[in-house]
C-alpha cells in the first residue's frame, strides 16, 4: 500500500461507519440487546446449555418468520393483520397432509403450502388494490376468513409429520451449539429475502413505502410493489405455519393467532418504521429471538409465565412511545 492509501483510509471508512450506525441504529442496538439478554439469562440460569439453546431457537422460529412476513409489508407501506391466521392455515394443512407420509412427501407438501401462502398474499394485495378498502380493514377481514378456513381444515388439534421432517428444525446437526432451527431460519429467510432486497424489486418496495407519491412520479409501479410485498408476506407466513408444525409436532387451528400481534411487536422493537420505507429483516428476527427469551427467563426467575404477555404488550407500548416521543422532539427542532 502506498503512503497515500494508508493516510486516506481511516477517516473515510470511519465516516462511512458512522453514517451506517446513524442510519441503522437497530442493526447495532438489537444484537447488543440480545447479547445483554443472553448474558442476563445465563446469570439467572447458569445451567443454560446447548439444549436450552435449541429450545429457544425452536420456540423463536415461528415468531421470527411471522416478523419477516410483517416486516416486508410494513416496509412497503402497508400492514398485514392476517399473518397469524395464515400461519394457522399452513400449520393445519401441514399437520393433516403430512401425518401419514414420508419425509419426501412432507417436503413436497411444503412446497404446496408455500404456494398457498403466496396465493393468499396475492389475494390480499389484489383486494387492497381493486377494492380500494384500506389494507388494515382488508387484512383484518381476510384474517378472519382464514380463521374459518383453518377450522374447516382441522376442527381440533391433531395430525402430525414425519420425524425426519421435524428434525429439520429440532435438535442439532453440525455442532451442539448451532441449533438446526437457527440454520433453518437463516437458510429460509436468506433464500426468500436476499434475492428481493438486492434486486430492483427491493428498491421498488422501499421506495413505495417511503413516499408513494414520489415513487409513483419517479415511474415506479407502486401497485405492483405492494402486491409483491403481500405475496412475500404470504410465503413467510406459510413458512411460519410449517415452523409451527415443526415446533409442536401437530396442527392446531388456533395456533397462529397470537403471531399477528407478536410479529408486529417484533418488527417495532426491531427497528422497522411503521410508516414504511425504513428498516430491514435482521432487526425483527433478532427481536423475535429476544421476545422468545422472555417466557424462558420468566420461568427461570420463577415468575408466573403468564406475565409474558403483559411484558410483551408493555414492551411494544414503551418502544412505540419512545419512538413517538423522539420523533416529536426532533420535529420541534
Amino acid at each position: 500500500m502506498s503512503r497515500n492509501d494508508i493516510e486516506s483510509l481511516p477517516p473515510e471508512s470511519l465516516a462511512v461507519a458512522m453514517r451506517f450506525l446513524r442510519r441503522n441504529p437497530a442493526l447495532v442496538g438489537m444484537p447488543a440487546l440480545l447479547i445483554a439478554a443472553m448474558i442476563f439469562t445465563v446469570i439467572v440460569h447458569p445451567a443454560f446449555g446447548s439444549f436450552e439453546l435449541q429450545s429457544l431457537a425452536l420456540a423463536a422460529l415461528p415468531l421470527a418468520l411471522a416478523a419477516c412476513a410483517q416486516a416486508v409489508v410494513v416496509i412497503s407501506g402497508g400492514i398485514d393483520l392476517s399473518v397469524g391466521p395464515m400461519m394457522s392455515v399452513a400449520n393445519v394443512l401441514a399437520g393433516s397432509l403430512m401425518v401419514h407420509g414420508s419425509f419426501v412427501g412432507a417436503l413436497l407438501w411444503s412446497v404446496l403450502i408455500l404456494l398457498v401462502g403466496a396465493l393468499e398474499g396475492l389475494a390480499n394485495g389484489l383486494l387492497v388494490k381493486i377494492s380500494r378498502i384500506p389494507d388494515v380493514v382488508v387484512s383484518l377481514t381476510t384474517g378472519f376468513i382464514l380463521g374459518g378456513v383453518a377450522l374447516l381444515i382441522m376442527e381440533r388439534p391433531g395430525g402430525g409429520a414425519p420425524a425426519a421432517f421435524l428434525d429439520l428444525a429440532a435438535g442439532t446437526t453440525f455442532s451442539e451449539w448451532v441449533p438446526n432451527a437457527l440454520i433453518f431460519l437463516v437458510v429460509v429467510v436468506g433464500a426468500v429475502w436476499t434475492p428481493v432486497v438486492r434486486s430492483r424489486l427491493g428498491l421498488l418496495i422501499y421506495a413505495t413505502g417511503s413516499d408513494r407519491v414520489a415513487a409513483f412520479r419517479s415511474g415506479v409501479d407502486t401497485d405492483f410493489a405492494r402486491l409483491v410485498a403481500y405475496v412475500i408476506s404470504g410465503v413467510f407466513s406459510a413458512l411460519g405455519g410449517i415452523a409451527l408444525t415443526m415446533t409442536t409436532g401437530i396442527g392446531a387451528p388456533l395456533s397462529g393467532t397470537i403471531y399477528t400481534l407478536s410479529g408486529l411487536a417484533a418488527i417495532v422493537i426491531g427497528g422497522v418504521s411503521l410508516s414504511g420505507g425504513k428498516g430491514g429483516i435482521v432487526g425483527p428476527v433478532i427481536a423475535a429471538i429476544l421476545l422468545s427469551l422472555i417466557p424462558a427467563d420468566l420461568i427461570f426467575l420463577n415468575i408466573d409465565p403468564n406475565y409474558g404477555q403483559v411484558i410483551q404488550g408493555t414492551l411494544i407500548v414503551i418502544v412505540v412511545m419512545a419512538g413517538g416521543f423522539a420523533a416529536s422532539w426532533q420535529a420541534r427542532g
Binding site: R19, R200, Y206, A207, A214, V220, R332
Partner: protein
Amino acid sequence: MADTGVVLSVHDIAKGFGSVQALSAAQLDIRSGEVHALMGANGAGKSTLVKILTGVYSADGGTVILNGQPRVFHSPAEARGAGIVSVYQDPALVPDLTVAQNMRLARVALPDVRGWLDELGISQLDDRALVRELPYTTLRLIDFARALASNPVILLLDEITAALPADLAEQVFKIVRAWREVGKSVIFISHRMAEVSSLCDRATVLRDGKTVGVVEMAAKGSDERIVSLMLGAEIAKRTAAAVTRSLRSTANSEGPAALEVKNLHYGHALNGVSFMLRRGEVLGVSALEGQGQQELFDCIAGVRRYDKGSIAADGKDLKPRHPADAIRAGVVLIPANRLEALLPQRSIAENAALAGFGRLASWGPIAMADERSRVANAVRRLQIDTRAEAEVKRLSGGNQQKVVIARWLASGFKTLLCFDPTRGIDIGTKQQIYALVRELASAGNAVLLFSSEMPEIALACDRAIVLYAGRVVHEMLAADANEASLLRAAHGLPPSGGALQ
C-alpha cells in the same frame, strides 16, 4: 431557433371527476425548439392537463399525438418512456433512499445527472447521502437534473421557480434556453408573468377547462392579452381598477403599536429581530429564501417557541406556547400552504367556524344561528365562490385561501400575519387579496405580510422591512420598495437610490 415541427399535439381533451368537468376542450400544440407557457387561473384545468400528459390520469376524450403517433399514457412510467418528463414543485425523490438509489429508480445514469448538477452550480454531491438529509433547494435541483438526464422529448416544468432563490432560478432559465437551442421542447407553468415574458415563445391560455387562446410572447401587449384571456375581459378591467384604488389609500403611520418585536432569537434562524408594526398599517417583510422569515412568523404565531427577546401585542407581553395563546391575544396566522390550514373534507362553513372551538367551554352545544350569520358575513365580504362542492378540497386555490381568511374574519382578530398569501394563486384573486389587506388595515387592524414576490410589497404594503441572516437590515416606505432596492437589501447590500443592473 431550431426546426419548428410540431412535437406534441393535443386535441379536445376532456376529463371529468364526478359532476365536475375539469377539462372539456383543451388544445395544445408544442413545436420542437420552443419554450411554451401553459397559463390559466387556478381551477382552469392546467394541472389536470399536465396529469393527463404525464400519465397520472387518463382522459375521457380527445387525442394526444406525440411525434405523429397517437398515444395514451396509463402511468408516469409510460409517459417517461415516451419522453415526457415533468418536474413538480415537490421533488419526486424518495426520502429514505440515497440519491444514487433514486436515480436507479427512474432508470437514469448518475454521471449524466452529475453533469447537469455541475451546470446548475452543484459540483459536490454525495450520492450516498439520504434524500432526507439534503436541503430542500438541493433536492429541487437534483429533481430537475434527473429530469434533464433522462433526455426527454418534452420537459414539463411546473412552478419550478417557486421558493427557489433568484440566482438558482437564473441557472434554471439558462439551461432551459440552452435546451431550446438544441431543438428540445419545454412546457413552462408559472404564475409569474415576468418569467413567462422573458423565457417563453408562446403561451396557451386555459379557462374553465377550454383553451381560449394562444399568444405569441414576442408580440406587443402579450402580457395583457394573456391576463384578459385568463380572466375573461370583464374581470380584467375590474381588477385593474381595484389595484389602482388600493394604491391610493393612505396609511395611518402614527397609530399605536400592534406588535413590538425586540431582539428576537430562535436557534440559528433568528439572530435579534426587532421591528414595530403599527395599528392601521400593512408592513411588508421581504427576504430571500431561508433568511428566517418562516421562523419569525411561526414564533409570533405560537407555532414555535422563541429562545430570547420579547414580543408585545398591543402592549401586552406575548410568549405563546401554542397558537391558541397568540390567537387569544388577537394575533392570527395565514400560512403559505393553505392546505395546512384547511379541513379538506369539511364544508366552507365548518372551516370558517373552526377558530371558535379553541376553548374547552366551546365543546358544548353550538349556537347555530350565531355561527351561521358570522360565517355568511365573512363569505360575503370575501366574495367566496360557494357554487362549488361542499368539500373545501374541491375549491380553487384562490377560494381556498379566502376560506382561511374568512375563518379569522368570522372569529375576530386584531393582527393578521400573512405568510406568502398569494403563492400559487391566480392574478384575479391576488388583486382581491391585496385590496382586502389594505381594507383590513384601514379598519384598524394591523397586517404583517411576507411575500416571496417583491413587486407585491409595493402593491400591498405601507412600509417594508428586509430580513437578512435573521436580522432586520433595512426599513423603507412602500414607495421606495422597488424590486431593485429590495433585492440589494435582501442580499445584505445597502440599497441605493439608483437602478440595479
